[in-house]
Symmetry: none
Subunit: 198 residues, 2 copies
DNA sequence: TCCGATATTAGGACTAGGTACTAATAGTAG
DNA sequence: CTACTATTAGTACCTAGTCCTAATATCGGA
């Protein structure tokens, strides 16, 4: 017996952790013991078989992807709006909005809230973002509530452009700021039934 | 024959894409045909068996993890990446990404693709967007495929800032352009020991 | 040195989820 | 009615195991 049983089992655990896609036969070769011994070791250490290990990794990948991928259609709840003047929305940062690595909200969600609000505040049939200049002034964490305030600062009718300034806060702290230059078609529409198309 | 063979094969491809952890037997039940038929279909469509599919998913997860970057969290599919240099991703615009009123993609999806690519291209433990200057140069419609190309243009180590330029195209047409100023922690992460859990 | 406990190995039966192949049958178009 | 495609059935074989029994090997202590 080159190594003791405990020694081998410790190394086995390490080996599988580092390189989970290894068969019992390969492990038996590696440790110079029989396949049966490897299997007994796995039992004692409660390490599942190769296929189960592969499956766990794959399943984790799928749940990770589902969790992080979708961006909702409308980000934030509009709580106040005065067309072509100002609007306010709130957005609660949940775990699907943050980097799993560090729990910090991903920038595009803050942008999405601001952008959606900039679109919503415009009293026009068609409103699209043309340009934007944005600053992230503080990182936002899971569980925080972001309040975005949009203010229409300029309406150039002949140019089909409207400027909207959006500032987002967590409590009193500014976390995001953006100047949005919006394209608009100049056909007022909000007297229609609101279809909530933003 | 409720559906034609081609019809069934098309649906089969969809089904497996959406839900790759399904056995031939379950598929046979689902489509009301025999297992052999499902197997013939897979052959013709060059779809590998369940275990191979699981293995591919798991392998992809491991290689992604080795890169230690949030590739799984990128909006769109990363098709090429050279850390701290450049990256390319594709994003297919579907109906959930557009305004139902006019079928035009919401700006924040294009932003999200570009922003997440800018984050992914940075070879650092922590990368956050600090500022961005963006232009939407053409509206993108449902069904179109957006290719985003990110290029790292400047790395200021002492200032913990990196500039990334992202240009997104539909075919040859530029649809979005953005300059991203990214914050980074300056702790390169690629040389870490890989601690995969099985 | 022998005895009993622990460790290791061998072998067989069985499993899931297949591949690869042959053969039979069903349905449809010309 | 025949030719052809589509579908189904069945067999042998595969991998990477589980679960079980039985036979050895090795070691530590009296």
């Amino acid at each position: 017996m080159k190594r003791s049983k405990k020694d081998r089992q410790r190394q086995l655990q390490e080996k599988i952790k580092e390189q989970p896609f290894v068969t019992d036969e390969e492990l038996a070769d590696f440790f110079g013991v029989s396949v049966q011994t490897i299997r007994l070791d796995r039992m004692e250490l409660s390490i599942p078989e190769l296929r189960e290990r592969i499956k766990h990794v794959a399943e984790k990948k799928l749940t990770d992807e589902v969790r992080s991928l979708p961006i909702e259609e409308v980000i934030g709840d509009v709580i106040d709006i005065e067309l072509d003047k100002s609007a306010i929305s709130i957005f609660d940062v949940k775990k699907e909005h943050v980097f799993k690595r560090n729990g910090i909200a991903r920038g595009h969600h803050l942008f999405a809230q601001a952008n959606s609000l900039a679109v919503a505040v415009i009293n026009d049939e068609l409103a699209l973002t043309a340009k934007a200049n944005i600053r992230f002034t503080r990182s936002v964490n899971e569980g925080e509530r972001v309040v975005a305030k949009a203010k229409v600062t300029e309406i150039q009718e002949r140019k089909e452009r409207t400027t909207v300034q959006v500032s987002s806060y967590v409590g009193q702290e500014l976390v995001f700021e953006g100047d949005f230059i919006m394209y608009r078609s100049n056909t007022s529409v909000k007297d229609e039934t609101n279809e909530n198309s933003y």
